[in-house]
Amino acid sequence: MSGIGTGYDVTPTTYSPEGRIFQVEYAARSVENSSTAIGIRVSDGVIFGVEKKIISKMLVKGSNRRVGSVGDHIGASIAGLTADGRRIIKQANSEAKSYKDLTSEAIPLNVLVDRISSFVQMHTLYASIRPFGCAVMFGSYNEKDGAQLFLVEPSGVSFGYYGCAIGKAKQSAKTEIEKLNLSELTCREAIKQVAKIIYTIHDESKDKEMELEMSWICKESGGKHELVPDDLIAEAEQFAKDNTVSTNILNFDNI
């Protein structure tokens, strides 16, 4: 990265002569160092899958969530600095509540994402605050608008996606997602595919042990964001283990 150490990278309030804001790019880098999270939008809902490193053998299961809910009609999933992501989800919840108080209607996902992007973008403008070191995916499902999936990045940009991947293995995860027929897949089937992708991209030899965390928001869950039931996760993990060819052979690092 040219420009590093030239003094243009200590605050997001200074552009480099090429017009870049290094602090924001560094924030994006912290997302890329994170373990991977994917989200896919299928015919009847949205599924999030997160590869979680088990940081301690004594960790209580479920105490290090990287998916969260906004109200009960929107799901979110984080990659990057988890604490930063949780702050964004908290903000999203407060936006959802204020919208509901005012109008008595649930906040539409596109409106929420617009507000959250402005919030994240605002953190790229001041020398006194650090840009968010995380990217957050938001998903929702209802009869009227169908399934929707958005990604908000540390710079504050947000786009809608059929499938997205963030974190360390985002490239290979994206390649895997692109192979799926998203418009015809149902959530039930997609759970297995998501598990398979997470197992495929997980590098057993290099990475620590991992736990698969999955949540969905779909017709079956009644338009509410929930963790995928344990039995379905177990089934999907079994499917993933049976169908995953270890990619390690192809990984030059391991030769």
Binding site: D101, L102, T103, S104, E105, P108, N110, V111, D114, K144
Partner: protein, 224 residues
């Protein structure tokens, strides 16, 4: 000794009346029919016994297809309608689509409830939106919100409960609904001293808003 103040001239009465708050004594009404709604109101605004406006428009739009029917203090209800219009404008810009009647009604509820000690406002919020179709909400004095197939309000409405109970039908045709509304408002004008003037009514459906007036001399006279 107690002093009794007496009005010594016509002029004094007028002056005293002008210091009364300006109220829309009012008959307002909104009725759902198959595919739309009809809203109607009289046009009298009074300050005490004085009619300060005899052609008032109490059907106040807050969005393209959402109206508020105002009764109570003219100042309060005009201001609330203006604030709600402002909020709906922002919300619909943010969403990229027109607001729903439910949204509008809840904004009215919010202001009427929070500021109930300062306001004299009883509002019917009615309109058409793509999500819920035609809908009517009444927001009475304390700031409650009630969804109804039809709603009546204002001082004139006390004379209408029996008529409406007897004559309201679900899924009327547009024509039936218009005559139901205009008859009812006409009846209230005949009996209620604080309602009068012309009848303003509007038909709101998926195609938009159609406004009409019935002039004072054409309002049906029910005393023969």
């Amino acid at each position: 000794m107690e002093t009794v103040e007496l009005y010594n001239s016509q002029e004094q009465i007028v002056l005293d009346d002008l210091s009364e708050p300006v109220k829309t004594g009012t008959t307002i009404m909104a009725v759902q029919y198959k595919g739309g709604i009809v809203i109607g109101a009289d046009s009298r605004t009074t300050s005490g016994a004085l009619i300060v406006n005899r052609v008032t428009d109490k059907l106040t739009p807050v969005a393209d297809k959402i109206f508020s029917l105002r009764s109570g203090s003219a100042a309060d209800t005009q201001e609330i309608a203006a604030i709600v219009r402002y909020y709906l404008n922002i919300l619909s810009t943010e969403q990229g689509k027109p607001p729903t009647v439910k949204m509008a009604a809840n904004l009215f509820r919010q202001f009427c409830y929070v500021y109930k000690n300062y306001l004299l406002a009883s509002i019917i919020c009615a309109g058409y939106d793509e999500t819920d179709g035609p809908s009517i909400y009444s927001i009475p004095l304390g700031g409650a919100i009630i969804k109804q197939p039809y709603a009546i309000g204002g001082s004139g409405s006390t004379y209408l409960y029996g008529y409406c109970d007897a004559n309201f039908k679900e899924d009327m045709t547009k024509e039936e609904c218009v005559s139901f509304v205009t008859n009812a408002v006409g009846l209230a004008i005949a009996r209620d001293g604080s309602s009068g003037g012309i009848i303003r009514y509007a038909i709101i459906d998926s195609d938009g808003v159609e406004r009409h007036t019935i002039y004072g001399d054409q309002v049906k006279n029910y005393f023969k």
